[in-house]
C-alpha cells in the first residue's frame, strides 16, 4: 500500500481544532460516526452485511462448506478470516496479494471472533475428525475513510449473526442458523498529541501517533486488543481507552440488538 499523504495545512487544521477540544466533523471525542448495517446484502452468501461507518463502507460475506477439521481440534468447525483492501476503495490500495495492512486487519478481526467464542464451533462438527463446517469470512473494503477495524468487525459480527448454515444443499439435514454464543464489539481509538479520539476518520488516522483496538464481550470482559502505529501510549491512556471501549461496546450492542 502506498503511503497516505497529508498536506501540512490539513494536518495543522486537525491539530488546531483539537487544541480547542474539537474534531474535524464536530463529534465528541468518544462519539462514533453514524452507523448503518444492512444484512442480507449478498444473496449468494450464507450471511452478509454491508456496514457504513460515516463514509467508510465495508461489505462482509460468510460462505460455508463442509471440510476436514484441523488435527488438533477434530470436533470443531473451522473459521477462516480474510480482508481485501481493493483498489476501488482508495488511491493508496493496490491489487495483488494481501499486504501487511490487510493481514493485520483480518487477524485482529479473526481474534475478536475466535477469542470471544462468538460462534459455538463444537456445534459445527458433523463427524468428529472427519467432517466439520468451515466458515470463510471475507471482508471487502469498498470506501476507505478511516477506522477499518471497527467497520470490518461490525460487518463480520453482523454477517455471522445472519448466517444460515446450508446443510440441505450439502445433504446434511435441514438448514440452521449459525450457533451464536456471544456478541463481541471492537472499539478503536487513536492518540493525537494528548487527545484520545474514538472512531477516527482517515484525516485523524493520518495525524494519529498511536492506535488501540479493544474488543469486549457483553460482560465487559476483554477478548482481544491490538496496539498499532509508531507512537506510544501511557498506561493512563490505555485505561481510558479500555474503559471507553467497554462503555461504547455496550451502547453499540444495544443499538444493533
Amino acid at each position: 500500500m502506498a503511503r497516505e499523504i497529508m498536506s501540512e495545512i490539513k494536518r495543522d487544521h486537525v491539530h488546531k481544532l483539537l487544541a480547542k477540544g474539537k474534531r474535524v466533523d464536530n463529534r465528541a471525542w468518544d462519539e462514533f460516526r453514524p452507523i448503518s448495517i444492512q444484512t442480507g446484502f449478498a444473496e449468494n452468501a450464507e450471511g452478509s452485511a454491508r456496514v457504513k461507518l460515516g463514509n467508510t463502507d465495508v461489505l462482509v460475506g460468510v460462505k460455508m462448506t463442509v471440510g476436514e477439521p484441523f488435527a488438533d481440534t477434530p470436533d470443531r468447525g473451522v473459521l477462516s478470516t480474510n480482508a481485501e483492501l481493493i483498489p476501488l476503495a482508495s488511491p493508496t490500495f493496490e491489487s495483488g496479494p494481501p499486504d501487511e495492512n490487510s493481514i493485520e486487519l483480518a487477524r485482529v478481526c479473526d481474534r475478536g471472533i475466535r477469542e470471544s467464542q462468538m460462534v459455538d464451533l463444537e456445534k459445527l462438527c458433523i463427524e468428529k475428525g472427519k467432517e466439520v463446517w468451515i466458515m470463510f469470512v471475507d471482508m471487502y473494503v469498498l470506501d476507505y475513510d478511516g477506522n477499518l477495524f471497527d467497520a470490518a468487525f461490525l460487518g463480520a459480527v453482523s454477517a455471522l449473526r445472519s448466517t444460515m448454515v446450508p446443510a440441505k444443499a450439502e445433504g446434511k439435514g435441514e438448514d440452521f442458523p449459525l450457533p451464536i454464543r456471544h456478541m463481541p464489539i471492537s472499539v478503536t481509538s487513536v492518540q493525537i498529541e494528548n487527545s484520545i479520539l474514538v472512531d477516527p476518520t482517515l484525516d485523524e488516522e493520518k495525524v494519529a501517533a498511536a492506535r488501540l483496538t479493544v474488543t469486549t464481550d457483553e460482560n465487559g470482559d476483554l477478548r482481544a486488543m491490538q496496539k498499532g502505529l509508531t507512537g506510544a501510549l501511557t498506561l493512563e491512556q490505555i485505561y481510558k481507552i479500555v474503559e471507553t471501549s467497554q462503555r461504547l461496546g455496550n451502547d453499540l450492542r444495544k443499538m444493533i440488538g
Binding site: A2, R3, P98, E100, I103, E104, A106, R107, R111, R114, E115, S116, Q117, L212, D217, N219, G220, D221, L222, R223, A224, M225, Q226, K227, G228, L229, T230, G231, A232, L233, T234, L235, I238, V242, Q246
Partner: protein, 258 residues
C-alpha cells in the same frame, strides 16, 4: 488460546509446570554483538526460546517507493526457522509473521531517532531459532539491543514480555504448555523510564481485574528485562583492564651528557 482446557498447569502451592511461581520470569540471557557481518546484533534466550536479531543500516531504502524524504524507516522481518517448532514450519513469511513484523517495526520506529537518517532504511532481522512461546517479545527485546549495538541513536531500549492467564490465574511469561492450554495472552513492550507502551496485544478472555494484574506483572517484568538489556550492552562495551598487570613504570629520563 484453547480456553476450555482442564489441563492442570499450576499446583496447589501456586507452582507452575516448570517450577516457577506465578510472577516469575524464565531465566533470561542477553548478549550483544554476537554476529560479525551485521552492523549490530544480539542473542536472547527467554527460557527455551532462542532468538537472534541483526541490524543493517541505516542503508539505502529498498523498495525505493518506501523511502521517506524526512526520516528513516524501520523495516523488521520476524521469521521462524523451519525446525524452531515441533511441526516443521514451512519456510518463508506467513500471515502471523507479517503481522508480528509490522508491530515490532512500529514499536522500534518510536525509539530510533529516524529524522537523523532521511531516505534510509534501518533493517532489523529477527530469526527465531527455537520457539517456546513468547517469541515476539524475545525478538523485540533482542532487536532493540541489536539497534543499540549498531550504534543507532535511540531514545531508549525496548523490553517486552508476555503475561497470560492459566487455570484462571494471571501468570508472567508463559511457556509453551501454558500458551497452548492458556486462557489469555497479553504481550506488552514498555519503556520503564517513561512508562510508554510501544506494543500491546491481547487475545483470550480477561476480566478488568485480571487485566489490572496483568499490567502490573508486565510493567515489573519489563523493568527487570530492561536491566538485563543494559547489562548486556555494558558487558559488550566495557573497556577491559588487563588483570594482574602493574602499570608500567615510566622510562627513566635519558641522561644527558654535558
Amino acid at each position: 488460546m484453547g480456553g476450555t482446557s482442564n489441563v492442570k498447569l499450576i499446583d496447589d502451592n501456586g507452582i507452575r509446570v516448570d517450577g516457577r511461581t506465578l510472577d516469575e520470569l524464565r531465566p533470561i540471557k542477553i548478549e550483544a554483538g554476537v554476529l560479525k557481518r551485521a552492523d549490530g546484533s544480539a542473542y536472547v534466550e527467554f527460557g527455551k526460546n532462542k532468538v537472534l536479531a541483526a541490524v543493517y543500516g541505516p542503508r539505502e531504502c529498498h523498495p525505493r517507493h518506501m523511502q521517506d524524504p524526512s526520516k528513516a524507516i524501520v523495516q523488521c522481518k520476524y521469521n521462524m526457522i523451519a525446525f524452531s517448532v515441533n511441526d516443521r514450519k514451512r519456510p518463508g513469511p506467513d500471515r502471523r509473521s507479517v503481522e508480528i513484523s509490522k508491530i515490532i517495526s512500529e514499536a522500534l520506529e518510536y525509539v530510533v531517532f529516524t529524522e537523523n537518517f532521511p531516505r534510509t532504511s534501518i533493517d532489523v532481522y529477527i530469526e527465531v531459532l527455537q520457539a517456546n512461546a513468547g517469541t515476539r517479545c524475545a525478538g523485540l527485546t533482542a532487536a532493540s539491543v541489536a539497534l543499540a549495538d549498531a550504534g543507532i541513536p535511540m531514545k531508549d531500549l525496548v523490553p517486552a514480555v508476555a503475561v497470560g492467564k492459566v487455570n484462571d490465574q494471571v501468570v508472567l511469561d508463559l511457556q509453551k504448555e501454558e500458551d497452548n492450554f492458556g486462557q489469555a495472552d497479553l504481550p506488552i513492550a514498555m519503556i520503564p523510564r517513561t512508562g510508554e507502551v510501544l506494543l500491546m496485544q491481547m487475545d483470550g478472555h480477561m476480566t478488568m481485574d485480571e487485566f489490572d494484574r496483568a499490567i502490573e506483572l508486565g510493567v515489573g517484568a519489563c523493568k527487570k528485562i530492561y536491566d538485563l538489556q543494559k547489562d548486556a550492552l555494558q558487558r559488550r562495551y566495557s573497556v577491559e583492564q588487563p588483570v594482574g598487570e602493574e602499570p608500567e613504570e615510566p622510562a627513566p629520563a635519558p641522561q644527558t651528557e654535558g
